[in-house]
Amino acid sequence: MNTSAAAGTPAVELSGITKTFPGVVANSDVNLTVRTGEVHAVCGENGAGKSTLMKILYGMQSPDAGAVRIDGEQVRFRSPAEAIRAGIGMVHQHFMLADNLTVLENVVLGAERAHGIGARARRRVLALAEQAGFRVRPDALVERLGVADRQRVEILKVLYRGARIVVLDEPTAVLVPQEVEELFTTLRTMREQGFTFLFISHKLDEVLAIADTVTVLRRGTTVGTVPAGEIGSRQLAELMVGSELPVPEHGGATATDREVLVVRGLCASEKDRPVLVDVDLAVRAGEVVGVAGVEGNGQTELVEAIMGMRPADAGTVRLGDRDLTRLSTLARREAGIGYVPEDRHRQGLLLDESLWFNRILGHQTRPPVARGRWLDRRGAREDTRRIVARFDVRTPGVDVDAAALSGGNQQKLVVGRELSGDPVLLIAAHPTRGVDVGAQAVIWEHLRTARAAGLAVLLVSADLDELIGLSDTIRVMYRGRVVADADPRTVTPEELGAAMTGARGGEDR
């Protein structure tokens, strides 16, 4: 299946790249050839080694073995600075921006030699933005920008350094379809101007839409390179995981009439600025309510307000017959809410503690992990073993630190924990973000099972396929309000995206 794509000198040639981290072989004998002026996609499960490979190309990590050739010439980068000098730029999976610096400062950082940090640099930035087809305000603080704007800043950074070869590591993960389309327009414009792109994404339809060639990694090695035109997303998925791609499927309505969560007129603000405006919401037993929205439009705040982590200015939150509005987070959890937070490292886990210790978090007042004011360490261990077995958490035992597990396994532990103790409501924020397809399937399956057993689920996700696939009904948030409802059986991702950007209302409103 290996098709040689080389015609003329390839822009990038990686051969025999091997890189090991303690306990993990991130890359082993990876080969990759990228032609000049193409968009070359790199696909693979979580942890397949895509980012590592790109970081090696970008000089952020040095390979244990293998060679890197740029425009035919063998190079060995010891730092990003050298890669930048060789014309390589990288937009990272996680934005690499300093929030407290301005757009201009972020762009010129590290490349001050080119045009200084003053007026000349500002002119240059504005010119580049124009060339790429978007607008910027050089003196705005980055912390005030939305996700799409931040990504533009990232791309500007790369352009400003005169990169000809641009690595985009999961650039679309946080974008809505419209924004993705804008990005792709930019990429196409630039491809015509002669730029070469390495493009990483988990979303295979996107890959096929933008890429000229696709290389698939599986567990650290290249399993094949194919022209994008010759392959469908199903085959691509099989290449990636060695089997069929799981899709979140709905599995029939199980919703009842019993309202479990009722949110009425919820308002919240941050430093005098409203972040939630008059939100109404209800989730019934056996129902999954999906919340869609571009990041920063109040989903996070909604979840926090329901969990009692953010004070509400007005409105009520009820769980069954109980009014939760004045209760603490812990009391809400005790009342039967499970919570999968959006960032497992920051909010879900104590990375430096053992798995069983992590099992206690959020349940510290309840059996089987506690008895009154005392912890039940044995109970915690045993119940953690149960979760490990039931949720297929791959670990040698429950005494290892959470930090030692891979992301997917960490997330399975979190979901398992939050489904423990018979919750009546689960709030799941991005439950499969950055999780590989295997773990994703496990998590989806468990959500579906619990729903069938009568669990009410509030699902916040940026993955529209996940939202559409799992939800019984979808609410769209924009600027802190619920602006539209959508029926997942009929809505398309594009329509949803339009509602999320406030372009037009959803079907029901």
Binding site: M96, A98, L109, G110, R113, I117, G146, V277, V294, G296
Partner: protein, 424 residues
């Protein structure tokens, strides 16, 4: 790693960074408010000491070591390294300054103080940057180490000469200079004792008379720090290490090198701050425990100044002023200061009201009333309290203002090269 991708704005719309008034004008306005309040209090109570050039000179002398220590803190923390070891570096500076100073004169003393402070900074850099030790822990250890080393060395090297293990031999001092004829003219104005004019003349006069090269250096280091940190490439890179070192590294910034540099500069400044305790006129040589927590206070001044040179200058000035006042003229003037404080609080209340913050205005108003009541009900404060006026003032002001402070985002976080994504 924790790259936040949330905008925090419900509207998703980029908001304007600053209000209509630029920061410096804002600051200048508050300085004016302060001076007016103090001259009013001086007029009301008939205590010219509140704005006399002598008091201001005291404030300068007492404030300079704190200013320098604070600048040291600023440099380190802007690069993301918390430096609570300033005290230890300052002690090393005093020892080094005295040791070189008594043998080769004040200029050599200054140099040695800088070098010794820098050495302290280097140790801190090795511990925090290379070994990833918790910054505060390392700082505490450096304070122990600095004190111990200085004591040990002075027993070893000073005692044979000074006959006292806790003291250096006399150290020659810098000469002082005054801006003439400006100084004399201001002095005349001050002596007229006219409301307002004399107050301003006193304050300005105090700033330009009896200035030593070391004081000039300290004055200069404020704008220089600003220019270097905010207006140069070097500074941009340095600050980026304190805001998001991983991003900086990804752009080819040698983060470790900048952190090292910043912490060493930090130590150097603290060391010079130590030198200011021994090489300025009117000061003794090295003396055990003479820094007396000034390093920590410098840190407080820096936080007080919101991690900016201008604000830090304000913090050091406030500290020096209140300390100078209570030392020079004791309880009565500190008591008069209450009147000025009440006045400033009133202005704060008005400003809050203007911004339609009712709660803030109310609190400020109540506080103003309380301070005024204390002022009217007493005619002197107990000496045990006035002796610590600066500390109290710092605490109160921080309590009132610290919510608006904005430390560098990655301040104090451990950073290792190539670590990003290790936990992803």
């Amino acid at each position: 790693m924790r790259t936040e991708v949330r905008t925090g704005t419900a509207t998703g719309r980029p908001q304007r960074a600053r209000g209509p008034v630029p920061g410096w004008a804002h600051a200048a306005l508050w300085v004016v408010v302060g001076v007016v309040a103090v001259s009013f209090a001086s007029y009301q109570t008939g205590l010219p000491q509140l704005t006399s050039s002598g008091t201001v000179q005291s404030a300068v002398r007492l404030g300079i070591p704190i200013l320098l220590a604070g600048l040291g803190g600023l440099w380190a923390e802007r690069a993301g390294v918390i430096n609570i070891g300033l005290e230890g570096m300052m002690i090393l500076g005093t020892w080094g300054g005295a040791w070189a100073g008594y043998q080769w004169g004040p200029a050599a003393g200054l140099l040695a103080a800088a070098v010794f402070g820098a050495l302290g900074g280097l140790v801190h850099a090795v511990a925090t940057v290379t070994f990833g030790v918790n910054h505060i822990v390392s700082g505490v250890a450096i304070n122990l180490l600095g004190a111990g080393t200085a004591k040990y060395l002075s027993t070893l090297l000073f005692e044979p000469v000074s006959k006292n293990p806790r003291e250096s031999p006399p150290v020659p001092k810098f000469d002082t200079y005054s801006a003439q004829p400006l100084g004399a003219w201001l002095h005349e104005l001050e002596n007229l004792q006219r409301v307002g004019i004399s107050d301003v003349a006193g304050v300005l006069g105090g700033l330009v008379t009896g200035v030593s090269p070391l004081t000039m250096l300290a004055y200069l280091s404020v704008p220089v720090s600003y220019l270097v940190l905010w207006r140069s490439r070097f500074g941009l890179r340095l600050r980026s290490c304190g805001e998001n070192p991983i991003a900086a590294e990804s752009l080819g910034v040698a983060v470790h090198r900048y952190k090292y540099l910043a912490v060493v500069v930090s130590g150097t400044l603290a060391g010079i701050g130590g030198a200011a305790l021994i090489l300025n006129p009117g000061q003794a040589g090295y003396l055990e425990n003479q820094t007396n927590n000034r390093g920590y206070i410098g840190l407080a001044a820096m936080i007080f100044g919101n991690w900016r040179p201008g604000g830090l200058l304000g913090g050091a000035a406030l500290f020096g002023y209140s300390d100078g006042l209570q030392l020079r003229s004791g309880g009565t003037t500190v008591h008069a200061l209450l009147l000025a404080a009440a006045l400033v609080l009133l202005v704060v209340a008005a400003a809050q009201l203007w911004r339609r913050r009712k709660l803030g205005a109310g609190v400020a108003l109540v506080a103003a009333a309380a301070v005024l009541a204390v002022y009217l009900a007493t005619d002197q404060l107990p000496e045990e309290i006035t002796a610590y006026t600066p500390h109290l003032v710092t605490l109160v002001v921080l309590g009132a203002a610290s919510q608006r402070l904005r430390p560098p985002a990655a301040n104090g976080l451990p950073y290792r090269r190539g670590e990003q994504g290790a936990r992803e």
